[in-house]
Symmetry: C2
Subunit: 201 residues, 2 copies
DNA sequence: TCCCGATGTCTACAACTGTAGACTTATCTG
DNA sequence: CAGATAAGTCTACAGTTGTAGACATCGGGA
């Protein structure tokens, strides 16, 4: 923001003129920046500088900040699986993965955080609504089956998003400071309820 | 924004000069605006106009936008209880309250939404972190007891926040369109696990 | 009655935002 | 070795933001 570092990638100080590589660099920088600061919290100049280009190139490649955000959301959701393991081990694996990913020292920020930090902007929220029903919802529906699979799948997402929120973003004490194993066991018990087809009646 | 409407409150077109009443009007407008648009999504001019005053009066009464936000967060959390019922009925009551509050047609936006929409700004996040540990955390710790009460309390908050997020903000299909009773039953089953003192081992 | 302090407004500024058009420079083809 | 075209940059603009200082106005006490 205020320092005058010429480049942030220490390797190649100047990229050869390559349209697709530059486009990819902008997109990666956008994912990181939107995840960290949210749609309204970051400007195209910041993203451009982080990618080693000027702001106008973003408009040339993506049309506008909104369209860049849409592609960034897709890129953030695409390679990510929100569940882990299969069958009986699904609850435990997913719980441990969640705890590991939301650890305060883990710098890996995920699509949930991107979603969270950009939810204030109506345009951004609409873009993300489409993305989440496209990626995560479909993925979960493939793993879960039985009565109320849709509800249970999205409740699984809800709990993950909530833990992410309180633990990683807000830094609530009990979730942040206690031993991770205890937390994982508690969460696993909840997931166990959700993977069971007919829970209530 | 662009119209020249002199006042928005149809009742008293001009408030008599009353410092505390004006202060309260600004605070109410701030809670509503921050909840709807987030910390970065609303300007002091919007809040001022909604309160029927000019922007500068906000700085006169609250010092800065940040300090106004801090008071707004406190005001949003203060009158709200995030759990309902006691003892054996706690899980069911809280589940039904959550479902009712996060209904798409319910226009009652809560502190979770304020928190969510403002989480992108680091200053705002710090202010909210202090508020949530002060209000909700304390409240829950009084109701829950036994082994891992802190973790279970915050997991209860996590699930609520997550459901709020997917259902009310994102509008995810399975959580938004299905019958509320089914959703409440599924959530109650999860809460039931969380109110039980020794869940895992 | 007068006047002083509290209450509220007006003008302005410096910083920042996203975007448009004109400009420069490198890379590849003939 | 040219020249054309893609790749990237520079300057600028209109808008918005939070805030500071000077100014106006209402209300009550002497």
């Amino acid at each position: 923001m205020s320092d005058a570092a010429p480049q942030d990638t220490p390797g190649p100080p100047k990229r050869r003129r390559d349209a697709s590589a530059t486009r990819q660099a902008i997109l990666s920088a956008a994912v990181a920046a939107f995840t960290r600061y949210g749609y309204d919290g970051v400007g195209v100049r910041d993203i451009a500088q982080s990618a080693g280009v000027t702001a106008m190139l973003i408009n040339r490649y993506f049309g506008s900040k909104e369209q860049l955000f849409a592609e960034a959301v897709d890129a953030a959701f695409a390679p990510r699986t929100v569940i882990a393991g299969t069958g009986a081990a699904l609850a435990g694996e997913t719980a441990r993965t969640l705890v590991a990913r939301t650890a305060p020292e883990a710098e890996e920020l995920g699509p949930f955080l991107l979603m969270l930090r950009s939810a204030a902007n109506p345009r951004a929220a609409q873009i993300m609504r489409e993305a989440i029903t496209r990626h995560a919802g479909r993925h979960l529906n493939e793993e879960l089956s039985g009565a109320g699979a849709g509800i249970r799948a999205e409740l699984m997402l809800s709990l993950q998003a909530g833990v992410w929120l309180l633990r990683s973003v807000l830094g609530t004490p009990a979730l942040s400071e206690g031993p991770p194993e205890d937390l994982a066991q508690h969460i696993e018990a909840l997931f166990q309820v959700l993977v069971t087809p007919c829970a209530a009646e």
